[in-house]
């Protein structure tokens, strides 16, 4: 009982500190504007060619972060691939009616199209590599859910997914290195002379769409690996 009260006390005092911090920040008199975001908002479209500013931040201004997070995802996929046994897979034993199987079959092309759309239009509309990747990952996940993991992995073996994931990551780095080839810094886009095109068109914003594609491939494959690994049972 004392222990529980002590724990409660700890958390409450942490909450107090947090609250003090938040209210201090809130009460702070902030006259100076946030020049970085101002710059991104006012110049971002010209500088990167992408209408979606989040994409321009993710794949251009701070593309290096994206490389890092892609690596984290890949690491997680790698861990799950070796941590959870690859031997035998079994799905709860549920069988569905034929409606589910047929619907899944017909749904998959639509999902694929949606995924490709979200990835390709990442610099123009809400979405991008991550979101599109997640959508793409739905395909193997749906397969696993309805037909069982065996079928899903027969269609797309874990090795294939792993290779696709690696190719996505390597592709990202290689695209970044394109700028180095032209004598600029890593991951440079507009500065390295890649045509930014007209903002708002599909082929615009230099490297951003291609980076989006790479991340999309990577995230899709990675999530599929993670999901399947977590579902597997001995």
């Amino acid at each position: 009982m004392v222990k529980k009260l002590y724990k409660l006390g700890l958390v409450v005092s942490l909450g107090m500190f947090l609250f003090v911090l938040f209210s201090d920040i809130h009460n702070l008199d902030r006259t100076s504007k946030n020049y970085l975001s101002e710059h991104y908002i006012s110049e971002g479209v010209q500088e990167t060619g992408a209408i979606n500013l989040v994409t321009s931040v993710l794949y251009d201004y701070r593309a290096f972060d994206t490389l890092g997070e892609a690596t984290v995802l890949l690491t997680a996929a790698t861990i799950l691939a070796f941590l959870v046994p690859v031997t035998k897979a079994d799905m709860l034993g549920t069988t569905f009616t034929i409606i589910v199987y047929q619907a899944t079959k017909y749904l998959i092309p639509f999902i694929a199209v949606l995924g490709v759309y979200v990835i390709m239009f990442g610099h123009l509309s809400p979405g991008g590599g991550f979101v599109g990747g997640v959508v793409m990952a739905l395909i193997p996940i749906l397969l696993s859910l309805t037909y069982g993991i065996d079928f899903s992995e027969y269609k797309l073996t874990p090795n294939t997914k792993k290779v696709v994931e690696d190719i996505g990551a390597i592709g990202f780095i290689l695209l970044g290195l394109l700028a180095v080839l032209t004598g600029n810094n890593f991951l440079a886009n507009g500065q390295a002379g890649f045509p930014l095109g007209n903002a708002g068109e599909l082929i615009s914003a230099g490297l951003i769409p291609y980076l989006n594609v790479m991340i999309g491939i990577k995230v899709g494959a990675g999530l599929a690996i993670i999901f399947n690994s977590l579902m597997k049972e001995q």
């Binding site: 724990k7 479209v45 984290v72 995802l73 997680a76 993670i226 690994s229």
Partner: protein, 111 residues
């Protein structure tokens, strides 16, 4: 503007409380996801601007929210998701090996 901060604080503390009091491994992992959600909520709060819209400038320039925290939030969601996935995998593994989800039974390493 005060209320969201209160919510965030409560969420954060709730998560921490879950982590330090719960014995069930799954619940501990859930605690981590709660804390993570509260952090992402902070990202949203930080970028919030009264009257702003999503930072997609397909129409003429008008008031949009700060795009940077949104990008950062995306990154931290992915990182948090990966970490949670790894944690869950470990929990599965522990359940297989130790036949329990009680955190106090994980006591092979001590001293």
């Amino acid at each position: 503007m005060e209320l969201p901060f209160v919510v965030v604080t409560i969420l954060f503390c709730l998560g921490i409380y879950t982590i330090i009091t719960q014995k069930n491994l799954i619940k501990i992992v859930l605690g981590f996801t709660i804390v993570e959600s509260s952090l992402i909520l902070i990202f949203v709060l930080v970028s919030y601007q009264p009257g702003g819209t999503a930072p997609i400038l397909d129409k003429a320039y008008h008031l949009v929210v700060d795009p940077i925290p949104q990008a950062l939030a995306l990154t931290s969601i992915v990182i948090g998701g990966s970490v949670t996935a790894v944690m869950l995998a470990l929990v599965i593994k522990i359940q297989k090996r130790y036949r329990t989800l009680n955190v106090d039974k994980l006591r092979k390493l001590k001293g």
